[in-house]
């Protein structure tokens, strides 16, 4: 009896979860879109192992895939990407779609895991996707890029900033490029160089200290680029300290840095850790300016105004400026919360760029889902020159990275204020 009960219990657990389809998005926003699409692919894949990859369903729809990590440890980055991309697609569809065809989005959650991303891609291909927007974290995006490269599927990412996403061998400048992969954000080396330049030329710093996060590709990438550029400029690095992922105690590192009295501290970490580091520094009496990368978005919530005063960082997104005002209000109206971080506008632009390229392929009269179509989309993305997005004007260099200037944001009076483009 007990055995039967246990079996029944576990089966009902599993089936119960399957039955209550359309999971709750933790962002608390409007989840109707995702619920619908999710129900759609559950129906699609469960019985569909017999069908081959087919061209886009129907001649009045263009199918693309949106692969983000809406669950898991870093979902707070994946959810804004997902939401903003969907916002753009919904707006396009409301305006009649591309070339009269509605854009159908297959939404997949990859939990930022490489294996899941590849699975999601395979599923997308099976369901007729002709382009991919994704993924969010660097590791998953590189795994995805490896897979899309093999089938020449156009891919654009809003947030993966490592050079290795578009370059096959990131260490080799003459390495082969994945021609089909693009991104709407700038790359880690670009940010590091930019801030070294800014610190030396604009802030007038002669000495700098570094605090970075080991075990974090992004942080290490920015740090390496900063150090290299600083060496070229003559900016002296007087201290280099690091902490491990998940660590919250930086007193020891800050104490060591404070002893060397640098002019600026370059801390290319995310907003939570940045806030804690700046707090620790101020508590120890350090007044050096903290300089950071685009991960600093929203750092204003993680330390007091006094502590943050004067902190600068570069971003792909200038909050509160004219070009993004419309987007910000649209996002808030659709999802019930203000734009959470810079990944949302970058995703909006990524979707915009992809749709722009899809338009070009449609205009050439090709059939969605075929190889010729995919190549046309890739060519169109390559040819983009001066397309206006909400985070800047886009054109791609030979590494498929966007050529954009960075927005410099300064913390003034507890608010993140756009200072200038640099």
């Amino acid at each position: 009896m007990k055995k039967f009960l246990a079996m029944l219990l576990s089966l009902t657990l599993v089936l119960g979860l399957a039955a209550c389809g359309g999971g709750n998005q933790p962002s608390g926003g409007n989840a109707q879109n995702s619920g619908g699409a999710a129900g759609n692919d559950a129906g699609n894949d469960a019985g569909d192992s017999g069908s081959d990859s087919q061209p886009s369903g129907g001649s009045d729809e263009i199918t693309i895939a949106l692969i983000t990590n809406t669950t898991g440890d870093y979902a707070q980055y994946g959810i804004p990407v997902h939401n903003a991309a969907m916002l753009y697609i919904n707006q396009i569809n409301a305006n009649g779609g591309i070339n009269g065809k509605q854009v159908k989005v297959l939404e997949y959650d990859d939990k930022a895991d490489g294996v899941e991303t590849v699975n999601a891609l395979n599923l997308a291909v099976e369901n007729g996707a002709t382009a991919v927007i994704g993924s969010v974290l660097t590791g998953a995006t590189i795994a995805l890029a490896d897979a899309t490269y093999d089938i020449n599927m156009p891919q654009i990412t809003a947030s993966a900033t490592a050079a290795g996403v578009t370059m096959i061998d990131a260490d080799d400048p003459a390495s082969e490029i994945r021609e089909n992969v693009f991104r709407s954000c700038f790359i880690d080396p670009f940010q590091g160089e930019k801030m070294a330049d800014y610190s030396y030329n604009k802030l007038g710093a002669k000495t700098a200290a570094i605090l970075y996060e080991t075990g974090n590709d992004y942080s290490e990438g920015l740090m390496n680029a900063f150090v290299e550029k600083a060496g070229e400029l003559g900016l002296e690095i007087v201290a280099t300290e690091a902490f491990a992922t998940g660590d919250k105690d930086y007193k020891a590192q800050i104490t060591n840095i404070a002893a060397k009295t640098p002019d600026v501290v370059y801390a290319p970490v995310y907003y939570g850790e940045a806030g804690l580091a700046i707090q620790a520094a101020r508590q120890l009496g350090m007044t050096a300016t903290f300089v950071g990368g685009d991960g600093y978005g929203n750092v204003k919530d993680y330390a007091t105004a006094e502590e943050l005063e004067g902190t600068v960082y570069c971003s792909g997104y200038a909050p509160g400026t004219e070009s993004v005002a419309q987007f910000e209000s649209d996002y808030e109206a659709a999802y019930g919360e203000p734009v959470p971080n810079m990944f949302a506008p970058l995703a909006y632009d990524a979707a915009m760029l992809m749709c722009h390229a899809l338009e070009a392929a449609e205009a050439a009269g090709l059939e969605a889902g075929t190889d010729g179509y995919k190549q046309a989309v890739i060519d169109a993305l390559n040819a983009i020159d001066g397309v206006e997005g909400i985070t800047g004007t886009y054109s791609f260099d030979e590494y498929n990275n966007p050529v954009k200037s960075a927005a410099i944001i300064e913390l003034t009076g507890g608010e993140e204020v756009f200072k200038e483009m640099y």
Partner: protein, 352 residues
């Protein structure tokens, strides 16, 4: 009436039956893949199923058969994955694969698998010798500690003697993707066969006796240290092979993948299937790899469901779904034949 004696299928025939079963299974899959009935998507899933099966059955040796609770299994997988990956990156396999010359890759791939097994086995030895002196909870914690140390070391050591070695947190990328379905299937079959043969032998019986009562086993002359270490090392070696296959499937490795959570995921597979049942581990590994794909719509709740399942399982059915039942085709046939002849086989179960 003279009582008919129950027929027992002789050993060579049993091997034959098992081999036939395996070949039939392989043939079915190969045909389905060849015809495209199993798409790229599903064959990818099947490869992951295979890798998880090897992980689950290897942990089952140490958990189900030996009765311990090592919580650092992901560490062995990581070590094997990195060893295999680094080895293959330094061989011409990448170019051979690009040129479509799969046959020439074979010696390198086998070399990589053997290397990852050996390296993982060495780590198993290093960790096992001190760890196995402890009991129960302490063993769990010390293996957890070792697993974490391996992960921290892989994250922070990116170059060895100035030579870019494991690339640290940035990840080991561009590993040639050699893991195809057939390779993984063969590895699964070989692993299960190895475990089965060990457990059937007197080594296996020694291991089981240690699980039942270690002091009694010691007192009848079984060298418990030797057998515990042996089981631990075999478990680690197979995890290393699974890691190598994982590296070959994904093409890139990040230390963050092999954290404590991964060890727990493997543990959940073993516990749900039934500690001590190889078939249980196989089925639950397969189920727990395929179910998340089918239940994509409720992906949010997946981890909560796992934890809940673990707790409920322990409270209501600690032995797992299959207990310590182990499947044997030959035994099923025996029961069938003898049933038809109307003979009572009595307690025909036990060691097959």
């Amino acid at each position: 009436m003279k009582e008919k004696k129950p027929i027992r299928i002789p050993m060579p025939l049993r091997y034959g039956i098992n081999l036939a079963l395996i070949l039939a299974l392989w043939g079915t899959f190969a045909a389905l893949i060849g015809q495209g009935a199993i798409t790229n998507y599903w064959s990818g899933i099947l490869i992951m199923v295979g890798i998880n099966i090897i992980l689950a059955v290897s942990l089952n040796i140490a958990t189900g058969y030996l009765g311990q609770l090592p919580l650092g299994h992901a560490g062995f997988m990581a070590v094997g994955a990195y060893a295999g990956g680094i080895f293959l990156k330094s061989t011409p396999v990448a170019d051979l694969l690009k040129a479509g010359n799969e046959a020439a890759c074979l010696p390198y791939v086998i070399g990589a698998l053997v290397l990852s097994a050996v390296v993982a086995g060495i780590f198993g030895l290093i960790i096992g010798i001190p760890a196995l002196r402890l009991r129960g909870d302490y063993l769990a914690i010390i293996t957890l500690g070792f697993g974490e140390i391996i992960r921290v070391a892989l994250t922070n050591i990116d170059s060895l003697l100035g030579f870019k070695f494991t690339y640290g947190a940035a990840g080991l990328k561009r590993i040639p993707k050699f893991s195809g379905f057939h390779l993984v299937f063969i590895c699964v079959v070989l692993s299960c066969t190895l475990i089965h043969m060990i457990m059937k032998s007197r080594h296996g019986r020694a291991i089981l006796s240690i699980r039942e009562n270690e002091i009694a086993a010691e007192s009848v002359g079984i060298n418990t240290t030797y057998y515990k270490t042996m089981a631990f090392v075999v478990s680690a070696m197979l995890a290393g092979i699974a890691g190598c296959l994982y590296a070959g499937y994904l093409g890139s490795l990040y230390p963050a993948t092999f954290k404590f959570m991964k060890s727990i995921e493997i543990l959940v597979m073993v516990v749900l299937g039934g500690m001590g049942s190889m078939l249980g581990s196989i089925l639950s590994a397969a189920a727990l790899t395929i179910l998340p794909e089918l239940l994509r719509s409720v992906a949010d709740y997946r981890m909560v469901a796992y934890s809940l399942a673990l707790v409920l399982m322990m409270i209501f059915r600690p032995k797992g779904l299959l207990g310590s039942y182990d499947f044997s085709m030959s035994r099923v046939l025996e029961k069938g034949i003898n049933g038809l002849r109307g003979v009572n086989t009595g307690k025909g179960g036990g060691a097959q």
